[in-house]
């Protein structure tokens, strides 16, 4: 029966080419636009570390003084160096890493390249295993290197390509301004999206840094810090090490919920201890969000993108209502044909099914057109200068969503016209024809 309906549908398409074309176009435009924006939204609300993100937590403490205190306010989104180092040394989680962004002047080993600035991350040894950073050559540095303030570095694959032509550069020296760091590891391609471990640098979807240095070594070498610094207590930025300023991110890995509960109470104890010492003055205020909750709380997905998604949904609705109108026009024009089929014994249900098959075929063709339009739209998005532009690629789940949406939309659009068309009395139609 399905094959027969399909055949009827194709016959009807060839009879009403313009109308069919318009319907397919309307669905394709609606689907194309909404899939473009939905894909961008999907990519941007991505889990950067699927399978691991529920084990990664971002502790927040409130080390501020009482100036400007209001109850119920969230603790700062970063930690001070003192608290960061204390938490790091306490070693109460499976893994923990303290970090901040930086900017380093790279002096290329070959004389023919001008010096340039590279984004850097100053962090501690657990950063690499905790975030499952892929290594191409060598290894990450060790906790002992952190302790010893060793002048070692891990560089990105692209920087290795640029400086060393892609060869294994471990053991080579990396000249950063006046200081030299020995390269111990080279990363493989790594593009966490969003740039989840530090959302305070420009753009939450920035590329990962090119140079990774042990935090203490970088501070020792007085390399420039890059990121947000927030101070209180009448303090001007200067001696950051002891200043009442938050400017570092601290991440921990806690393998199961019990550990998370344990770590939370450790944070509370730590805060109380610091209150007793007089360092923390505000009432106890700690947070322990996992990675995805933290991204949600920080609203990483640009509101522009959400706005576009709403707009595209509205546009899809406009296209749908238009498709309903066109289908109505088309099905009602075929009253005579449907009347004959009714008179020859086809049940209302059979007619209904036939018309829905026809809408479904239109939907699938529209979906195909929409897919092409979405690919074009995503290409357009990739030409945009935003930092997330390069991420806008259609993946398998979104491909399925495209066709599901197209089919669902066209069947919904077909329901009313098909039902109306089935309401005709066979005799009347025969008489008129």
């Amino acid at each position: 029966m399905f094959g027969y309906y399909l055949d009827l549908a194709l016959r009807s398409f060839s009879r009403h080419k313009a109308l069919t074309g318009l319907m397919v176009l309307a669905i394709a435009l609606g689907i194309g636009t909404s899939m473009t924006t939905l894909t961008v939204l999907h990519v941007l609300s991505n889990d950067p570390l699927p399978g691991r993100s529920q084990m990664l937590f971002y502790p927040q403490l409130d080390p501020q003084d009482l100036d400007g205190y209001r109850p119920g306010v969230e603790p700062p989104g970063q930690v001070t160096l003192i608290d960061g180092m204390n938490l790091l040394r306490a070693h109460r989680a499976e893994r923990q890493a303290l970090m901040t962004g930086g900017s380093v002047p790279v002096e290329p080993p070959r004389g023919d390249v001008d010096p340039f600035f590279a984004d850097a991350r100053y962090t501690t040894a657990d950063f690499f295993p905790m975030f499952e950073v892929p290594m191409r050559y060598g290894r990450a540095w060790s906790a002992a290197d952190d302790q010893a303030k060793a002048r070692v570095a891990v560089i990105s694959r692209s920087l290795n390509d640029r400086l060393f032509g892609g060869r294994d550069s471990t053991g080579q020296l990396l000249q950063l301004g006046d200081s030299a760091f020995r390269i111990v590891g080279v990363l493989d391609a790594w593009r966490p999206s969003p740039h989840f471990y530090d959302l305070h640098i420009a753009g939450s979807y920035a590329r990962a840094e090119d140079v990774f240095l042990p935090l203490q070594s970088a501070l020792d070498a007085k390399l420039a810090i890059n990121g947000s610094i927030s101070c209180w207590g009448g303090y001007a930025v200067g001696q950051l090490a002891t200043a009442p300023c938050v400017w570092l991110q601290f991440w921990v890995q806690l393998d199961d919920p019990a550990q998370a509960v344990g770590y939370r109470s450790f944070l509370e104890h730590y805060s109380q201890e610091q209150q007793a010492l007089g360092r923390f003055q505000r009432p106890l205020n700690v947070r322990l969000r996992n990675l995805m909750d933290w991204l949600g709380y920080q609203r990483v997905v640009p509101s522009d993108v959400r706005l576009q998604t709403w707009l595209a949904a509205g546009f899809l609705l406009v296209c749908l209502v238009n498709t309903v109108g066109l289908m109505l026009a088309k099905f009602m024009r075929r009253n005579d044909e449907l009347g004959v089929r009714r008179a020859l014994g086809a049940s209302k249900r059979a007619l209904f099914a036939q018309l829905l098959v026809e809408s479904g075929v239109i939907g699938l063709s529209g979906g195909l057109g929409g897919l092409l339009l979405a690919l074009g739209g995503l290409w357009l998005v990739r030409q945009r200068p935003t930092d997330y532009a390069a991420l806008a690629q259609l993946d398998a789940p979104m491909l399925l969503v495209t066709f599901a949406l197209a089919l669902g939309a066209s069947l919904t659009a077909g329901l009313l016209p098909a039902w109306r068309a089935c309401q005709i009395a066979p005799a009347l139609q025969l008489k008129e024809a």
């Binding site: 109308l19 318009l22 176009l25 309307a26 435009l29 609606g30 636009t33 100036d67 400007g68 002047p105 002096e107 001008d114 010096p115 340039f116 600035f117 301004g177 420009a202 610094i229 927030s230 101070c231 209180w232 009448g234 303090y235 001007a236 930025v237 200067g238 509101s303 522009d304 959400r306 706005l307 576009q308 709403w310 707009l311 595209a312 509205g314 546009f315 609705l317 406009v318 296209c319 209502v321 238009n322 309903v324 109108g325 066109l326 109505l328 026009a329 088309k330 009602m332 024009r333 357009l380 030409q383 945009r384 200068p385 935003t386 009313l416 109306r420 008129e432």
Partner: protein, 409 residues
Amino acid sequence: MQIRPILATLRKHRIPAILIVLEIALACAVLCNAVFMISRRVASISLPNAIDEKELISVSMHGADPTRAAADIPRNLAALQGIAGVQAAGVISSLPLSTDNWGWSFGTQPDSVLEDRSSDQNTNVSLYMMAQGTERVLGLRLRQGRFFNADEYPGSLIGSGALPSTHVTVITESLAKKLWPGQSPLGKTIYSKPAYFTVVGVVADVLRPRLFGSDGLRSYHSSFFPMGPDQALANYVLRCPPAERERILREAVQKMQALNPSAVINGNTYEAIRNRYFADTSSMAWMLVLVCAVMLAVTAVGIVGLSSFWVTQRRAQIGIRRALGATRGDILRYFQLENFLLVGIGILLGMLLAYGINLFLMAHYELPRLPMLYLPAGALALWLIGQGAVLGPAQRAAAVPPVVATRAA
């Protein structure tokens, strides 16, 4: 003329009529909001900026030895001034729209605490530190008071601190209005304990390195400070005839790289800096325009489809009317009036819907209220589209010969 028969017909063909109304209502609602978003983007792209944008080029230098700043800065300035065609050269800590923001919060009371966050009492302000003569290079327009005296430059340094060690500042008109509404700002002081700065001059509005909110109000909270040779002065600005910008830029970058081999040098015309800042906004605006155009086209196609279906369905009725003496013009006007009524109802619904959507977006996305002007503009656009779309089918209806009436049924 014949509204009553039209209404009677519409009552008989309820579903197509409702569909047209719905099409128009949805299109109107989405269109009004989308055009509003476009206009806000266009407004932010074209924000005025009281410096001589067309005549400026900028050469930034980072990574130079900070201890040599006192020697390097005068030498670099002299070298840049020596390039043929350069009218003046200066150096400043950052440029408007360069994204390199140096922000701090100030209050108007002596006990305003020093912090970098905005609060109820404090206003977040962007700081521009500049060497002597740079105000002339940029073309800052003085509105009140004076620029800095020569003796205010040498001692003002910032080093690794957050604020310059001077006690004078020049602020923009918008900032003056925000801090001291209705009063003269000259001689007033801004505080961030223990730092304080007395306002000696007011200039026309200059944008901040990074805009906050697109309302344009906070975008002009800029302040200027004198500065001696300090590593914070990293953006060399040159004033030159617009026609020679490209050549001078090339020469300036070469010269700076030769003088400072270990520093990172970047050259841009000011126009390029501004365009880069708004590149994303403008591409977004174009995408919105595209979506609106396509949506209107789809709506028009939908109306054409429904109307022509309608005409076919009513061939007999049209034939009878023609046989009873209605002219072609009557039939044409009948369908046009019908479309006008339907679109009118759709627009009415659409405006309510547009308003509702705007309320929802305001609650969730910090959008301001939709200006009332958008509603009649959207209505006019849709009426035109409706009339355009119905013209073809209506003409076809008018062409139905009276003889059809005698043949059918």
